[in-house]
């Protein structure tokens, strides 16, 4: 069978991921970012490690020591999650780590809510759906997890979501953003209908769309459309919206092609 020499192989391909790998291990990088507070540290670490039981145990210890349950959402859970999202953005850890951490964080938030009389404040609400006629929802599930991990409240309308249901959810929840995902070219046409009905009702909310067959040219055709190339763009777009970006500015920032 034909084979390369080590030298000839280098002339055919380069594994850039190996060549550029960070020196530091994920655990070492996380350790540098954890808060030093002895009550908060174990919660943040448990979030990073995706260990739900340890998160709850840490929260209980902090509450026993006099911390307010509801404040621990921002002061501990979100701090731990910020470590995770930073390391994900930096390319130190991968998506499954984020998903497992998000699961642990959501368990932690539920625990804090159960132990408090006050409702937590979020950065804003986002309505998420999969296009009508399309049942491929793994992309939407990633988007919702990343949004929640970044402190947004998510109204998840699920898959194969009728256009009118999206519009009704926007009227009811007053979101800062709507997301739509689709795998198929024929189903993504529903995005335009969502856009048209939102515009008709004067609901000029940014409508971030992405997914397998969706491309920037298609999304840019409708007034509210903002194209998200990757799921990880969703929280970044939402952050930009609460920082004041309008649709034109969002397109400038996120339309890469």
């Amino acid at each position: 069978m034909l084979d390369f020499t080590e030298e000839s192989l280098k002339k055919v391909l380069t594994r850039y991921n190996v060549a550029l790998e960070k020196e530091m291990t994920p655990e070492e990088a996380a350790e540098e970012l954890y808060p030093k507070d002895e009550l908060i540290y174990p919660i943040a670490k448990a979030i990073f490690e995706g260990e739900e039981d340890d998160v709850v145990e840490g929260l209980q210890a902090a509450i026993d020591a006099g911390k307010e349950a509801i404040t621990l959402i921002d002061d501990a859970l979100m701090v731990g999650m910020a470590v995770v999202t930073k390391l994900y953005d930096d390319g130190v850890i991968f998506l499954p780590n984020v998903m497992m951490s998000a699961d642990a964080m959501l368990d932690g938030i539920e625990f804090c809510k159960e132990n408090s009389d006050t409702a937590p404040e979020t950065k804003g609400t986002v309505v998420c759906h999969v296009a009508e006629g399309d049942v491929h929802d793994i992309g939407k599930n990633i988007v919702t997890a990343l949004l929640r991990a970044n402190g947004f409240d998510v109204v998840d309308l699920g898959r194969d979501c009728p256009v009118d249901e999206v519009v009704a959810a926007v009227e009811e929840n007053k979101p800062i953003m709507v997301t739509g995902t689709a795998l198929m070219t024929t189903t993504m046409y529903a995005f335009k209908e969502v856009n048209d009905k939102l515009v008709e009702k004067g609901l000029n909310v940014p409508f971030a769309c992405g997914g397998g067959a969706v491309n920037q040219d298609f999304v840019a055709q409708y007034e509210l459309g903002v194209y998200g190339e990757e799921a990880a763009d969703a929280p970044k777009i939402a952050d930009a919206i609460i920082a004041g970006s309008n649709i034109a500015a969002l397109r400038e920032a996120f339309h890469k092609h």
Binding site: M1, L2, D3, F4, E6, L9, V12, L13, R15, Y16, N17, V18, L20, E21, T25, Y88, G91, I93, F94, L95, P96, M99, M100, D103, G133, V135, D137, I138, N141, I142, A145, G158, R159, D160, C161, M184, T185, T186, T187, M188, Y189, G212, A213, F218
Partner: protein, 461 residues
């Protein structure tokens, strides 16, 4: 029908395998014999978004697509072509829509065959519509519509019947985002295979009744999801070492189609097809460098190594500088086939096969495991316990890990992250029981609790 499990390999050695040649060629359509010493382009397309608005628009769109492809094949002098129509949901939910499209396409293909003698066949890939908005509904009300869609298309012109079935996807989607090897094994290897056994015995019966070919399935819903999420070298969504484990596990799952009466050619996006060809000796369609219109991969040349039919995955129908998109992609595919067929006719196919393979062998662990010599080893691990759907999937996963480890000891370089994911996966596999009943019971309990959309009744539990 009881599945006829494979417990031995079709080929004596990996080196016996090549593109364009199989142990069991398939006669189909208008003069084609697939896997009988030549390769064939298979053009795959998607209608423009607005074409789904009505049946008339959709039929009209497919007529244009079909005419464009047939015309270009004749214009450039290619002797054979397969067209693949992957149903949009309207065509499978309304079987008469799919039937009309098949009839319209086949009428045009017959005209070209009659006038020019071009050999051709039409594949219809039915959409797996067995679900409602919230849950998979694999055995529910939609099953009869699903089967009717196959039958109506077969009666109206489709020669090759395929599907990208979804059994096990609800558990897999959960597991793959959590590095959960047991869940991947359960979703693809066990639940997926159980569903495949059910649907493919029925699809094979439809094919027998209509004189068509039950062609095969692909684990697009799971292994391709893993490959897509894993992405390129710099993407940070999934370790490529986990993506190739999912692929290895998908081989025994997709094999179940052939154990229940399918004859090939397997569907294009089944990158696991090289393993299945090694086991079954049946013809396979593959896609790679010419499917970049649909998605990127990291083995665009390698995957041509043993293909019998060469596809572009899917391209949206639209205009390009060189014609319509289906004409441009079709022509590229057909030129690739012309090169492979030249190699076959001049006795150079093993040289070309090895050049395809070697150019991507070390690009990524996914390509490394699917290189035909290593794919053959995965096949051997599967047939070793071919009668046990759990053990054969577990064997495939373990053999995959072993192959990557051996590769790393040589010229395959993987990142520390990929190595760590591989080590964790191997440890998770080593911790699994050998007893299928225990594994199934453990997983049923775990995933019923953790995956709210998992309904055991979908699998007859």
């Amino acid at each position: 029908m009881v599945a006829n499990r494979y417990t031995s390999m079709a080929y004596e050695s990996a080196d016996e395998m090549s593109f364009g040649k199989t142990k069991h060629p398939v006669k189909a359509g208008l003069g084609l014999e697939i896997g009988a010493g030549y390769t064939i382009p298979e053009v795959n397309y998607a209608p423009r978004p607005e074409a789904g608005a009505s049946k008339e628009k959709l039929v009209n769109e497919y007529e244009r697509i079909t005419t464009d492809i047939m015309q270009r094949m004749v214009q450039v002098g290619f002797p054979a072509v397969i067209l693949e129509t992957e149903h949009v949901q309207q065509m499978s939910n309304n079987p008469e829509w799919g039937a009309e499209v098949a009839h319209a396409q086949k009428t045009i293909m017959e005209e070209y065959h009659d006038e020019y003698g071009i050999k051709c066949a039409l594949r219809h890939t039915i959409g797996d519509i067995r679900e409602n908005r919230d849950f998979l509904q694999l055995r529910g009300d939609k099953y009869s519509v699903f089967m009717e869609a196959f039958e109506k298309c077969a009666e109206n012109g489709a020669d090759l019947l395929s599907v990208e079935s979804m059994g096990g996807k609800e558990v897999f989607d959960y597991a793959i985002l959590r590095n959960d090897i047991a869940g991947m094994l359960y979703g693809i290897g066990c639940l997926g295979t159980l569903d495949m056994d059910m649907i493919w015995s029925d699809i094979a019966a439809v094919a027998k009744k209509t004189g068509t070919i039950a062609a095969g399935d692909t684990d697009c819903a799971q292994a391709n999801t893993a490959m897509f999420i894993a992405g390129g070298l710099l993407d940070k969504n999934l370790a490529h070492t986990l993506a190739i484990i999912a692929r290895a596990i998908s081989a025994p799952r997709s094999l179940a189609a052939y154990e229940n009466g399918a004859l090939g050619p397997g569907k294009d996006c089944g990158y696991e097809n090289v393993i299945i060809k090694a086991i079954t000796g049946m013809p396979m369609t593959q896609e790679g460098k010419t499917s970049t219109c649909a998605h990127s991969d990291v083995m665009g040349n390698l995957i041509m190594q043993c293909c019998d039919v060469w596809s572009n995955e899917s391209v949206e129908y639209h205009g390009e500088f060189g014609g319509t998109s289906v004409q441009c992609r079709g022509e590229s595919l057909a030129y690739d086939c012309a090169l492979m067929n030249t190699a076959l006719e001049t006795g150079n196919e093993k040289v070309l096969r090895d050049m395809f393979m070697l150019s991507d062998r070390y690009r990524d662990p996914q390509g490394y495991v699917l290189a035909y010599d290593n794919a053959y080893k995965v096949g051997e691990a599967i047939v070793k316990d071919g009668d046990n759907i759990y053990l054969r999937a577990k064997n495939a996963a373990i053999e995959c890990c072993n192959i990557v480890e051996e590769g790393v000891a040589g010229k395959l370089s993987i990142s520390r992250f990929e190595a760590g994911a591989l080590k964790d996966a191997k440890a998770a596999l080593d911790a699994l029981p050998d007893d299928m009943d225990q594994f199934m019971d453990d997983c049923l309990t775990k995933y019923q609790s953790e995956v709210k959309v998992f309904l055991p009744e979908n699998y007859g539990f």
